[in-house]
């Protein structure tokens, strides 16, 4: 466990909590990233606040990069595994009505039985695939 980074995990996780909470307190909305991003693209109704939210998503790491000098992260290669993964994440989050933010944080935070079940399900298949494939 020498790669465990508890401090940055707690600080970053708290920021994620504050950001999701801010959308609830101000707009009264669930900060589900898959739902907001897909509806920003494919639904005319309520598009402007969703586009603003996605713009914020694109800006955050750029600001962190300016603030922290040695900020870097790996990115995947463009190959069939990455492309299939993207397709499955798109299909699955749309059919399953949410992703890590909407179900895993907002949904569990509201003690929603659907979100608790969905999170257990995607954690389970995620662990099996990452461990054995």
């Amino acid at each position: 466990m020498d790669n465990f980074t508890p401090i940055s995990a707690l600080v970053g996780g708290s920021l994620i909590g504050l950001g999701t909470l801010l959308l609830l307190v101000t707009l009264g909305r669930i900060a589900g990233i898959s739902g907001i991003a897909s509806q920003a693209l494919f639904q005319r109704d309520g598009r402007s606040w969703r586009l603003a939210f996605v713009a914020g998503l694109l800006l955050g790491p750029l600001l962190v990069g300016l603030a922290i000098s040695d900020f870097s992260f790996s990115t995947p290669d463009l190959n069939s595994r990455t492309l299939i993964a993207g397709l499955l994440v798109g299909l699955g989050t749309a059919w399953g009505s949410g992703c890590t933010s909407g179900h895993g944080i907002c949904g569990i935070g509201r003690f929603s039985p659907r979100s608790i079940a969905a999170t257990m399900m995607f954690m389970a298949t995620g662990v099996v695939v990452a461990s054995f494939f």
Binding site: F4, T5, S8, A9, V11, G12, G13, S14, L15, I16, G19, T20, L21, L22, L24, T26, L27, G28, I33, A37, S38, R50, A52, F53, A55, L57, L58, L59, G60, P61, L62, T75, P76, T82, L83, I84, A85, G86, L88, V89, G90, G92, T93, W95, G96, S97, S101, I108, R110, R114, A117, T119, M121, F122, T125, G126, V127, V128, V129, S131
Partner: protein, 137 residues
């Protein structure tokens, strides 16, 4: 004002994704892959976010209405159904293959290369297809 706070919300979330290193798919796979050098960081990220959100959710519901809107738009559905569970299972398979869920993939987009762009493009195609072909409940 709505637009400003929506942008600020997205910005805080993706800043958190960056600070917690969840923007790095190898970091996420370090948690999901139990066979290697296991990294519990992701669990701590979710725990911290959940503590903040759960307390704030309880307090904000007591206030009755959000600051910039007439009411809370919260999902009311309670029952599990086929589409939810199959969808979540498929999402998990994609997550485990690449280490990306939607937030980190979108957050990484401006600074990343063709792999991230390809992932996001396919994710958008997936949203489009699922919108046209709903799963039976």
């Amino acid at each position: 004002m709505q637009l400003f706070f929506a942008l600020l919300s997205g910005l805080l979330i993706s800043a958190g994704i960056a600070v917690s290193k969840m923007i790095d798919p190898q970091k996420v796979l370090g948690f999901l892959d139990l066979t290697g050098n296991w990294d519990p960081s992701l669990a701590l990220v979710m725990a911290a976010a959940l503590v903040v959100y759960t307390i704030g959710y309880k307090l904000s519901l007591k206030k009755g209405a959000p600051l910039l809107s007439t009411g809370f738009a919260l999902p009311s559905k309670q029952q599990l159904d086929r589409s939810l569970l199959i969808g979540a299972a498929i999402f998990g398979v994609g997550w485990g293959l690449a280490g990306y869920c939607p937030g980190p993939a979108i957050a990484a987009l401006p600074a990343a290369g063709s792999g991230t762009a390809g992932f996001v493009a396919m994710m958008i195609i997936g949203w489009f297809i699922a919108g046209k072909v709903p799963l039976k409940k």
